[in-house]
C-alpha cells in the first residue's frame, strides 16, 4: 500500500483563496461577492439548492468560466489569468466525461501524456491510480463496458493521477443509486484522507455534505450564506435560509416584551419564554428550534407549553409528532426505543425545551 500511496500522494497540499469574485451572465448575477479561504488538505463542500451557482464557482476555479472581477489564488499564486490546461486543478465532471474512444488505461494516462511524463512512469502511475480505485483489472475495457460506479472511479483515477493541486468534484454521486452513493461517499472520503489533496465537493444534498466534509459553504442565489463545520452550521445557523436548508427548523414568530427586570418572548398564541439576562437578542428576532430540542410529556405541566398532538409519523429510530400550540404548529422528534410510549393524535401534551438550544435569527 505504501508504494501505491507514494505513487499518487501529494507532497504538500495547497490552499485556495477566493476573494471578491463576481460572475454574471448578461444582467443575471450568478455569483455575488464570493470570499472563501480553503485550507491545505481540507475536504470542503459547496452546498446549496440547484441553480445557486455551485457549478459556476467550481468551473471558475477550473478556468472554464470568467469572473467579472476578483481573484483566485492556489498556494498563494493567482491563477485567474491562466487557461484551464495550465491550472493543475483537477475536476471530476458530473457526467464523468470519459472519452468513449479510449480504454480505461488510456483515459487515465491522458493527462500524464499531455505533461510529457516518460512512458515507463506513465505505466507505473496509471497502474497505481487504478489500484487505488480498485479497477486494475479493468484497464483494457472501454468506458461503455463499465457500470456507473466504475465509470465514476475511472473519472476519479484520471484526475488524481496528475496529482492536481486542488481536486474538484461536481456532484460526483448524483448519477449513482442511493445505496452506491453512501458506499462511494465513504471511499471518496477515505481516498481524500490518504492523498491529503485539497478537495472541493459540490452537492445539493445536506446529508451528503455533512457526512463527507471537514467544512462547507452553504450557498443561495449566488451568495455564500455561511461557512463552517457541519456541526457549527447545524447548531448555529447564521440565518433562516441556513437553518431551514440543514434539516428541519421550527421557526416561531413572536414579540419581545419587558416586565420589570425580566425580558420575555411571547408567541402569537400567548406561549411565553423567559430570556436570560444579558442575552443580546434583536427585537425582530424569531425563535428557531430543531425538532429534537423539544421533549413531550403527557398532560400539562407548570412552566411548560401545552399542545395537542395532530399527527404521528413513525420513522423507526425516531417518532415525528406534529403538535399544535395555540397558534403555531411545531414538529417534534422523539427518539424511539422499542417499548417506549407513543402519544396518539388528539392527546394533550406538555412541551418543554432546553432554552440553550434556542437560536435567535432576525432574517
Amino acid at each position: 500500500m505504501t508504494s501505491l500511496h507514494h505513487a499518487v500522494s501529494h507532497a504538500h497540499a495547497s490552499n485556495l483563496e477566493i476573494s471578491d469574485v463576481h460572475v454574471s451572465y448578461g444582467q443575471n448575477a450568478v455569483l455575488k461577492n464570493v470570499n472563501l479561504s480553503i485550507k491545505p488538505g481540507e475536504f470542503f463542500a459547496f452546498l446549496g439548492p440547484s441553480g445557486c451557482g455551485k457549478t459556476t464557482l467550481l468551473r471558475l476555479i477550473a478556468g472554464f468560466n470568467q469572473a467579472n472581477r476578483g481573484s483566485i489564488k492556489v498556494g498563494g499564486k493567482d491563477i485567474s489569468a491562466l487557461p484551464p490546461w495550465r491550472r493543475d486543478v483537477g475536476m471530476v465532471f458530473q457526467s464523468y466525461a470519459l472519452w468513449p474512444h479510449l480504454n480505461v488505461a488510456r483515459n487515465v494516462a491522458f493527462g500524464l501524456e499531455e505533461r510529457g511524463v516518460p512512458k515507463a512512469e506513465i505505466t507505473k502511475r496509471v497502474q497505481a491510480a487504478l489500484d487505488l480505485v480498485g479497477l486494475s483489472d479493468y484497464a483494457q475495457r472501454l468506458p461503455s463496458q463499465l457500470s456507473g460506479g466504475q465509470q465514476q472511479r475511472v473519472a476519479l483515477a484520471r484526475t488524481i493521477v496528475i496529482e492536481p493541486k486542488i481536486l474538484l468534484l461536481d456532484e460526483p454521486l448524483s448519477n449513482l443509486d442511493a445505496k452506491m452513493r453512501v458506499e462511494v461517499r465513504r471511499e471518496l472520503r477515505d481516498l481524500q484522507q490518504r492523498l491529503g489533496v485539497t478537495t472541493i465537493f459540490v452537492t445539493h444534498d445536506q446529508e451528503e455534505a455533512n457526512a463527507i466534509c471537514d467544512r462547507m459553504a452553504v450557498m443561495n442565489e449566488g451568495i455564500i450564506q455561511q461557512v463552517g463545520t457541519p456541526r457549527e452550521l447545524y447548531e448555529r445557523p447564521a440565518n433562516l435560509f441556513v437553518a431551514n436548508f440543514l434539516g428541519h427548523a421550527n421557526v416561531l414568530r413572536g414579540a419581545m416584551g419587558e416586565s420589570g427586570h425580566d425580558r420575555s418572548f411571547t408567541l402569537r398564541g400567548g406561549e411565553r419564554l423567559m430570556i436570560r439576562e444579558g442575552a443580546h437578542i434583536p427585537d425582530d428576532a424569531r425563535l428557531v428550534l430543531r425538532p429534537q430540542a423539544f421533549s413531550l410529556a403527557r398532560g400539562t405541566a407548570n412552566g411548560s407549553w401545552t399542545g395537542t398532538v395532530q399527527d404521528v409519523e413513525f420513522l423507526g429510530a425516531i417518532i415525528r409528532y406534529r403538535v399544535s400550540l395555540n397558534q403555531d404548529d411545531i414538529l417534534v422528534d422523539a427518539s424511539f426505543r422499542p417499548g417506549d410510549e407513543v402519544y396518539a393524535p388528539g392527546e394533550q401534551v406538555s412541551v418543554s425545551f432546553d432554552s440553550s438550544s434556542a437560536v435567535w435569527l432576525s432574517q
Binding site: G63, P84, S95, A97, W99, G111, E114, T159
Partner: protein, 577 residues
C-alpha cells in the same frame, strides 16, 4: 391524406388480440410486401447475377465472364478509373466539408445556419446538370480559363477527363460529409473537451486526440456514402464524355451491344460488390463507436468566439468554398436566360425563350416527373409504414427479413437495377405485345425500390418514437388494432411519413441512373431524362438549363415545405404532450 388511407386499409384486418400471435391480416400484408420485393428487387438482381455467372446459351455455371472482364484492358482501366475518381472525390469533398463543418459547429459564427442550409443546395441538383454548368465555368473555354488566359496566359485543366468528374461529383456530394460530420461534432458533449483541457490538453493536440476521433464515425458515414454514390453514378461521366469508367461501360454494353451480352452484367456484379464492400468496411470501422456523448443537461461542442484574424480567415474560407460549390447553380441560372454563351466569360445577351420552350413542348417531362415521383413516394411510405409496423409491433416470424430486403436496395446501384429490370421483364409481354419492361409503371417501381430504404428508415424512426403505451391506452379504452392504428399511430407518425415521402419524391424526381435504362419513348420520359437529352447537344443547353432550374426549384420547394410541415406537427405535438 391518400397514403394514410391506403396504409390504413392495408392494416384494417389486423385482429384485436394482443400481439402474441400474428393475425391473418398481418400475414397477408407481409406476404404481399415480400412478393413485391421478391418480384421487383430480388428477381431482377438475381437475373443479373445469373447472367454474369452462366455461359451464354447453355446456362451452365462459369467464371469465364469474369476472366474476360479481368483480361480486357478497357474494363480494368475503367475499374481503376472509377476507383480513383471515387477516392479523389471523397478527398476533395472532405476539403470542402471539413472547414464548413468545423467552423459552423465550433465557433459562434454569424451565418452558421445559412451556411448549413446552403451546404444542402448541391444535393438538390442532379450532378449531371451541374456538369454542364461546370463546363461553362471551368471548362477549357469556360469563363475562368478564358480570364486566366487573358490575364496570365495559361489555362488549368479543371474539367479535362477524370478531373471533371471528380470536381463535379465532389461538389455535388460533399453535403453528405458536411451533414454527417456536423451532426457528429454537435453530438460531442462539451465536457469531453473540457475534461481534456482540465488535464492539460489544448489547441491542435486536443483536436487530434479527442475531437477528431469522436467525430470520426460521422465522417466515415459521410465519406463511404460519397464513395459509393460516385462509384455508381452513370450520368455525370456520360455527360462529360468520360466513357472509361465502370457504370458508363455497363450502360454502353447493354444499350449498344445488346441485353444478351454478358459483360454489362459482370460489370454490374462488380458494382454491387464494391458498394457492399464500401458499406461493410465503413460499418466495421464504426462498430462499437456510437459516440453520441451529449449528456443530460450537457451542451454540444464548446463554441468560442474568434479573434479578428480568425474571423477574416474563416469568412474568407467559407466564402471561397460556398462560391465554388454554388457556382453550378449560378451558371445554370445564367445559362437558362442566355441567348448564346460560349467562348466568353458571360453570356452575350439574355432571353426568356428557353423557359417558354420548356413550358411549351417539354411540359410532358415535368408532368411525368410529378406523376412518377409522387407514385414512387406513395409506394415507399405505404411499404415503409407497413414494414415498420410489422417489425416493431408484431411477432410475425421472418419480419426482419422484410426490413433486410427493403434495405438491401441501398447496395444496388441504379444502373444495375435498370439492367436487371430490362433483362428480367423484357421477355414478359402484355396483351398488346408490349414488353413489360417498357411500360412507364416500371420506371415508377424502379424508383420506388431505389428510394425505399430512406423512406423506410424515416417511418421506422417515427414509429419507434411512439411509446407503445399510447396504443395500449387506446386499446384499453376500447379501440381495436385497426382503429388504434388509424386514430393514434398514423397521426403520430405524420412527421415521419411526410419526411419519408418527400425524401423519396425529391430524390426520385432527379434520379437518372435507373431510368436511363428504362425510358423507351420521349412521351414517357421524366425531367431528368429530358435534361440529359437536352444537355447532350449545344443547342439544347439553354432549354436544358431552364429545365434544370425548374427541377432545382421543384425539389427545393418540396424540401422546404416538408421541413415546415414537420416543424409544425412537432410543435403542435409538443404543445399537447
Amino acid at each position: 391524406m391518400d397514403q394514410a388511407a391506403t396504409a390504413q386499409a392495408s392494416t384494417r384486418s389486423f385482429g384485436s388480440q394482443k400481439m402474441a400471435r400474428a393475425t391473418l391480416g398481418q400475414m397477408v400484408l407481409a406476404l404481399f410486401i415480400a412478393l413485391f420485393l421478391l418480384g421487383f428487387l430480388i428477381f431482377p438482381v438475381a437475373t443479373v447475377l445469373y447472367v454474369a455467372f452462366t455461359e451464354k446459351g447453355t446456362g451452365a455455371f462459369t467464371l469465364i465472364n469474369f476472366i474476360d472482364f479481368a483480361r480486357t484492358d478497357l474494363f480494368v482501366r475503367s475499374f481503376w478509373n472509377s476507383f480513383y475518381v471515387s477516392a479523389m472525390s471523397v478527398v476533395l469533398a472532405s476539403v470542402f466539408a471539413l472547414p464548413l463543418a468545423y467552423i459552423t459547429t465550433r465557433f459562434t459564427f454569424r451565418g452558421a445556419g445559412l451556411i448549413q442550409t446552403l451546404g444542402f443546395l448541391p444535393l438538390i441538383m442532379p450532378p449531371f446538370v451541374g456538369a454542364v454548368a461546370m463546363l461553362l465555368l471551368f471548362g477549357r473555354n469556360g469563363s475562368i480559363n478564358l480570364l486566366l488566359d487573358d490575364w496570365f496566359g495559361f489555362k488549368i485543366p479543371f474539367m479535362e477527363g477524370l478531373n471533371g468528374v471528380i470536381l463535379v461529383q465532389s461538389i455535388h456530394y460533399f453535403p453528405f460529409i458536411l451533414i454527417n460530420l456536423s451532426a457528429s461534432l454537435r453530438n460531442i458533449d462539451r465536457a469531453m473537451e473540457e475534461s481534456a483541457q482540465n488535464l492539460g490538453s489544448s489547441g491542435f493536440r486536443l483536436f487530434r486526440r479527442i475531437v477528431f476521433p469522436l467525430a470520426m464515425p460521422g465522417y466515415l458515414a459521410g465519406a463511404s456514402l460519397v464513395f459509393v454514390k460516385v462509384f455508381d453514378d452513370l450520368a455525370t461521366p456520360l455527360l462529360l464524355n468520360v466513357k472509361d469508367m465502370l457504370a458508363p461501360q455497363a450502360y454502353l454494353r447493354v444499350t449498344s451491344i445488346g441485353i444478351a451480352d454478358p459483360m454489362g452484367y459482370v460489370i454490374s456484379v462488380v458494382l454491387i460488390v464494391m458498394s457492399v464492400l464500401a458499406m461493410w468496411l465503413s460499418a466495421c470501422a464504426m462498430k462499437g463507436r456510437d459516440y453520441a456523448t451529449v449528456q443530460r443537461g450537457g451542451g454540444g461542442l464548446m463554441k468560442r468566439s474568434m479573434n479578428r484574424f480568425e474571423t477574416i480567415v474563416a469568412y474568407g474560407v467559407v466564402t471561397l468554398i460556398l462560391l465554388l460549390v454554388l457556382a453550378p447553380h449560378l451558371a445554370l441560372l445564367l445559362l437558362s436566360f442566355a441567348t448564346v454563351w460560349s467562348f466568353s466569360p458571360l453570356p452575350d445577351a439574355y432571353t426568356l425563350a428557353h423557359y417558354s420552350r420548356v413550358f411549351g413542348e417539354s411540359f410532358v417531362y415535368i408532368k411525368n416527373t410529378f406523376l412518377y415521383a409522387s407514385l414512387a413516394g406513395l409506394i415507399d411510405v405505404v411499404l415503409g409504414v407497413a414494414i415498420s409496423y410489422l417489425v416493431l409491433r408484431t411477432k410475425l416470424i421472418g419480419r426482419e427479413w422484410l426490413d433486410f430486403m427493403a434495405s438491401a436496395a441501398l447496395a444496388i446501384p441504379g444502373v444495375v437495377l435498370g439492367i436487371g429490370f430490362l433483362r428480367a421483364f423484357y421477355g414478359v409481354t402484355l396483351w398488346n405485345g408490349q414488353p413489360l419492361a417498357t411500360v412507364w409503371i416500371m420506371i415508377v417501381i424502379a424508383l420506388a425500390i431505389r428510394r425505399l430504404p430512406y423512406a423506410l428508415r424515416a417511418c421506422y424512426a417515427a414509429l419507434q418514437q411512439i411509446s407503445q403505451s399510447l396504443e395500449e391506452a387506446a386499446e384499453n379504452l376500447g379501440a381495436n388494432k385497426a382503429r388504434t392504428v388509424r386514430r393514434i399511430v398514423l397521426p403520430l407518425m405524420t412527421g415521419g411519413i411526410v419526411a419519408g415521402f418527400v425524401t423519396s419524391f425529391s430524390t426520385a424526381a432527379v434520379e437518372l441512373s435507373a431510368t436511363l435504362m428504362l425510358v423507351q419513348s420521349n412521351s414517357d420520359a421524366p425531367l431528368a431524362y429530358g435534361l440529359y437529352v437536352f444537355m447532350q447537344s449545344p443547342a439544347g443547353r439553354g432549354p436544358g438549363a431552364a429545365l434544370g432550374v425548374i427541377a432545382v426549384i421543384l425539389v427545393a420547394v418540396c424540401s422546404w415545405a416538408s421541413h415546415v410541415l414537420i416543424e409544425r406537427t412537432q410543435k403542435a405535438r409538443g404543445a399537447t404532450s
